[in-house]
């Protein structure tokens, strides 16, 4: 099994390197969604002038 090979052992935060990669992928997904929520809220509250509005032309 890939996760139990000698080379994969002792990843950066304990456990195997594969587990370390999994943790990293989870952390990055979590951080991405935090950023996405900011994006949605900022767009909802401060998004650009509506393109159909006269002041945008």
């Amino acid at each position: 099994m890939e996760r139990t090979t000698e080379q994969e052992r002792e990843g950066p935060a304990g456990g195997t390197a594969a587990e370390g990669r999994d943790r990293d992928a989870r952390a990055r997904a979590h951080a991405y969604l935090d950023l996405w929520e900011k994006h949605v809220v900022q767009t909802a509250l401060h998004g650009p002038v509506a393109p159909w509005h006269p002041t945008s032309s």
Partner: protein, 424 residues
């Protein structure tokens, strides 16, 4: 759940009946969250693309998100949606019930009462200088008296002032045909007369949200009767087309305001009043995923702690909306929001056009930097158009100005000092 249980009106065990199906519109809130997260999943493979239209200031941070694992993203989304539902259930099952008792009413007309906080147990001086307090028509007045430790009015009473809260109540048959002008002549003016009598002269007026805008109208049309003016989160100039709320205004303006007039009139004709769910949908549009995010936050709190109790109290208030007469709703949602009659000098109130330059009283204008209901673009113009105004920009949101943790230091104290210094 057995099929026949859908036919009963009994809430599931432990769920407060008044929180069942809330926050309204529940399907909108859940659908908006699901939609936003679905787009997050779809966008994940291109999150670091230079052409991706991130909101200003976020693109640099997004560069770190190349090669995201979509399965991990989907898993995190599932956890967030689960936390939203967990938070909803914590609120629905929470044992908190508001126990504050209203102070006595010293005047009443129809469903409107004038509540005397000088007679509350917290009052330092029952015959202290009266302050007429005008809340919004669109929500319950008790946001100003939410919890014993988060009650602006009881705190002001404790400072020696005598707040007189104009509690509009729930419109009944006498109010069903009211527009804002009728509320002005039939409710606001008589309440001002009562307060003026108690004060023995001109009286300070403080208004919150659209109540602040009404207070400006009152102070402009009756300058000799108003000693001082405080507005908190009061919108005035609806020109802005930023964000969802501004985009909706622009879309309706493009469609023609008469279309919106007919919609509101139709709701009133069909249902008697404009229903709460319609008004709550309008609020929900401002920030569609706000509900999902805040219930996730509740799920992270100690359900027995003070922060969760405050959350529950506030959420109960939000869910406890009031329907509006079609005339008043039309004035607010179309006359103000779409036609911008307030800032354009076209607002008829108390018998004539409202010209804010006629407000003789000194004014204190609070506008929360993080206010999303009456954001700075809508509320700060009052600081310019009122001749004797001082503008204060606390770092809070719309409701936070009244019940937030910073409310006492940033709003209550300066408001009390101002009111005490201009007691008429």
């Amino acid at each position: 759940m057995a099929p026949d249980e859908f036919l009963t009106e009994r809430p599931p065990e432990g769920v407060a009946a008044h929180r069942l199906g809330e926050p309204s519109p529940l399907l909108f809130h859940l659908g908006a969250a699901l939609s936003a997260y679905t787009f997050a999943l779809l966008a994940a493979p291109r999150a670091d693309s230079p052409g991706f239209p991130w909101a200003p200031g976020l693109a640099a941070e997004a560069k770190a998100f190349g090669g995201l694992d979509q399965v991990e993203v989907a898993g995190d989304i599932a956890a967030r949606l689960k936390a939203t539902l967990a938070g909803l259930e914590i609120w629905q099952r929470h044992p908190y019930r508001r126990a504050l008792v209203d102070p006595p009413a010293i005047w009443q007309a129809g469903c409107t009462r004038l509540l005397d906080y000088g007679a509350s147990p917290e009052a330092a001086d029952p015959s202290g200088p009266p302050v007429l307090v005008v809340p919004s028509l669109i929500n319950r007045a008790y946001i100003l008296d939410l919890l014993p430790e988060r009650s602006m009015l009881r705190w002001l009473a404790g400072q020696g002032l005598r707040p007189l809260l104009l509690d509009w109540g729930t419109p009944g048959p006498p109010e069903a045909t009211f527009d804002l002008a009728t509320y002005g002549t039939e409710r606001l003016l008589p309440a001002l007369a009562v307060a003026r009598r108690l004060a023995g002269g001109p009286v300070p007026v403080m208004g919150y949200c659209m109540g602040g805008t009404l207070a400006v109208g009152l102070a402009a049309r009756r300058p000799d009767d108003v000693a001082a003016l405080v507005t908190i989160g009061a919108p005035w100039d609806f020109t802005s087309t930023r964000g969802m709320a501004g985009g909706c205004r622009a879309a309706i303006r493009a469609e023609g305001a008469a279309y919106a007039d007919r919609l509101i009139e139709g709701l009133g004709a069909a249902l008697g009043l404009v229903p709460v769910v319609f008004l709550q949908t309008v609020f929900a549009l401002v920030n569609p995923i706000q509900a999902a995010l805040k219930f996730q936050k509740l799920a992270r709190l100690d359900p027995n702690g003070a922060a969760a109790r405050h959350f529950v109290a506030l959420e109960d208030w939000l869910a406890d909306g009031v329907p509006m007469p079609a005339g008043a709703a039309g004035d607010l949602l179309v006359g103000w929001q779409i036609r911008n009659r307030t800032a354009r000098g076209q607002w008829d109130f108390l018998g004539d056009r409202v010209d804010p330059r006629r407000v003789a009283a000194p004014a204190l204008v609070f506008c929360g930097e993080r206010d999303t209901i009456a954001p700075p673009a809508l509320a700060t113009p009052l600081g310019s158009v009122l001749p004797r105004a001082r503008l204060i920009l606390p770092r809070t949101g719309h409701v936070g100005m009244i019940v937030g943790s910073a409310a006492r230091s940033q709003i209550w104290r300066p408001a009390a000092a101002f009111l005490a210094g201009h007691r008429g």
